[in-house]
Symmetry: C2
Subunit: 411 residues, 2 copies
């Protein structure tokens, strides 16, 4: 499987994790592909837990993604099973059968319908999932379930992530304290295949599925859909939110209920924290880049322009080289295909406006920009000067580390 | 300006170049940015020469691109002036004035209207073009004009290209021998900014502008619009075709005239040769990759899928690592957003079908594929199994060399 990767210089320590009432977790070693580590995570949710999810838009998704989409047609979740080491993608009918077998085995453990079991797999593509090993490990996984196993769960779903990722928020709905806690795995895969992003958030809040789905979709748009490492879209990406309803909060029927405002902000904030942890563990990343676009014709247009800048290999290599190469930002804006006018375009790096209205600022002094480029957090701002559309996107730089990780042979 | 780059391992020697009746060229050192080399190319076309061109779709094009678009509203070309070292992009009103000054100076040399002068600049962005140095070098450039200076011209327009690029075809229109000869510069820029692609083809054939424009547009679609190095679109890309009319060929009014068939094939072939030379000099390239897509819903859809594969950093790094990682090809197909059905998708590398109809071929033996991956010419084929849409796209691998070249500081 190759040498372990050095921990990303942009890593963050795990926060102080707590328990979420109604959630028990475990992590075991099922021997799917990795040796000497856990590779199977099981979560049990108390009966009545509501599930919602957002899945990859890739047209060739893995069998577990298709399973989860179908399972979401009923609102309940009783369990979540995630394995690392094999993605169960492009495995044809055998892949679907593996999902059915795993969900059936978990449903027997918890005496629930199979559609209340959610599944995910991350790892190598095109190899048959060894579901017998997973099913054989289930009794041990059930026996190990405990409320305080969140860190273990975060570690079991890692592939070539260089650090475990989790976030927590304690807030109130009305007067009732509720908790949000989540884990994620990101975009680092050396020996296997691709940059799958998985994130799972649980809360003890009591909320209906339509409200949860609305919250998750809008939170995802500003977080996981606003990050990019290399523009590639995994076949297995998913983000799920589970609400156990153990908190005795007031009834909420409307996503715009003021009583939900604090919770909504906390969820958005937690999702962004998890998403940025994924970028911080981007393959070979040495700098976190924020691209802020203003003045675009619409928010949608601004988002597309920001992604064009964030996905540009020329911009990302310039940042890696600590080069304030704003010309490449102009190029990326132009190639986005979105409305832009050269003579109204302005570009700033690290808060210093380098170009205004289509030409370099008179007497531009590169000194503060050069200093900014030497830091770990790089801020690129683009103003289109057209209207009030705005968006923010995060990415990381493109370095030799990326080539090392992705150019090495699967073995 | 940094050390000279090593010549690409995919380089090709210059072909045996000839003259094109009605075209004289020269190359001089104007001291625009580079030292100790030529950086200004002048071409003189005989009066009556017809011009046509295809320009970058980047929404923030350089001033010379805008100049050429306007100049093409009349069909004639008397001269072409190209400088390396400064792109005259994002230079505001001063950039437009530089174009007007240069065109005016050239028009005086040849006693022609300024709109018969075509201009191009390639190099660093956002710095004012030193047009005084260019204009001061024009008398020497005119004095040096000669029919056999094609190689010198190909060298003068290089930025960090590691080898000069040219191609030639001798064919007939009806019974009349005609010649096509062209030069190009590609995607290598270390100290300056971005991967500008410039290509100029001349022929002694006598053809009307609408026929030339139609030939160039369709030839470009299958060549320069079917190559990608890093998905970034330069602000200065252009491809132009000049027809001097010195050959005494039959009159052609229709692009589908059978008498033009041989010429059309030769032009397409020459354009593809020049385009592949650009890919062969892609920054850090060690392998040339051809992505062939069949079975798509349309040719347009096939082209988009092929580009998604060719632009995928995960695919390109896998090829650099000689890893037949077909799972990444599946991922790239899926992310293209084009119609695809996992269970009808097939993938081949080097002519060996690895996956058929959504799953790995029974008894797949990696041996011939591993051998293929060690070569310089990598062939990836994708069949969608939906309809008969097809397309071919070429790219190069993504290596440490790309990071070295693009991550180094402008100096």
């Amino acid at each position: 499987m190759g040498k372990p990767l050095p921990v990303s210089p942009l890593s963050r320590p795990l926060p102080d994790l707590a328990t979420v009432a109604g959630v028990r977790l475990s992590a075991v070693a099922a021997g799917i592909r990795y040796q000497g580590r856990t590779d199977l995570m099981l979560a049990e949710f108390t009966p009545g837990t509501i599930a919602t999810g957002v899945y990859t838009k890739n047209a060739c998704p893995g069998a577990p993604v298709q399973w989860c989409r179908r399972a979401l047609t009923t609102p309940y979740a009783r369990a979540l099973l995630v394995n690392a080491g094999n993605a169960n993608v492009f495995t044809g009918r055998a892949g679907d059968e593996a999902c059915e077998d795993c969900a059936s085995a978990v449903s027997e453990l918890f005496d629930c319908p199979p559609q209340d079991v959610f599944l995910a797999s991350t790892g190598v593509i095109g190899e048959k999932l060894p579901q017998d090993r997973i099913i054989a490990a289930l009794p041990a996984a059930r026996a190990a379930l405990a409320e305080d196993n969140w860190e273990q769960a975060a570690r079991a779903i890692m592939t070539t992530d260089t650090f475990p990722k989790a976030a927590r928020r304690d807030v109130k709905i009305g007067d009732t304290p509720v908790r949000l806690q989540g884990i994620a795995k990101g975009s680092g895969m050396i020996a296997p295949d691709m940059a799958t992003m998985l994130a799972y958030v649980a809360t003890d809040a009591k909320l209906p599925q339509d409200v949860l789905q609305s919250l998750l979709a809008s939170g995802c748009a500003q977080s996981f859909n606003a990050i990019t490492v290399d523009s590639d879209t995994s076949t297995s990406d998913m983000l799920m939110l589970f609400a156990t309803g153990q908190a005795d909060n007031v009834t909420i029927d409307d996503v715009n209920d003021p009583a939900l405002a604090e919770f909504t902000l906390a969820l958005n904030d937690l999702l962004l924290e998890l998403a940025l942890l994924v970028v911080r563990d981007g393959e070979g990343a040495t700098k976190l880049i924020r691209v802020a676009v203003t003045g675009a014709e619409s928010n949608f247009s601004a988002h597309r322009i920001a992604l064009a800048v964030a996905n540009s290999p020329l911009v990302k290599t310039a940042v890696a080289g600590e080069d304030a190469n704003w010309g490449r930002v102009v190029m990326a804006v132009g190639k986005s295909g979105e409305p832009a006018d050269r003579d109204r375009l302005s570009v700033a790096i690290g808060g210093t406006w380098i170009a205004r209205n289509g030409t370099v600022v008179e007497g531009y002094d590169e000194t503060p920009v050069v200093a900014h480029m030497k830091g770990q957090d790089i801020e690129i701002a683009v103003d289109l000067g057209l209207d009030d559309g705005h968006a923010r996107v995060w990415t990381c730089d493109l370095t030799h580390g990326y080539i090392d990780i992705n150019g090495s042979y699967r073995s």
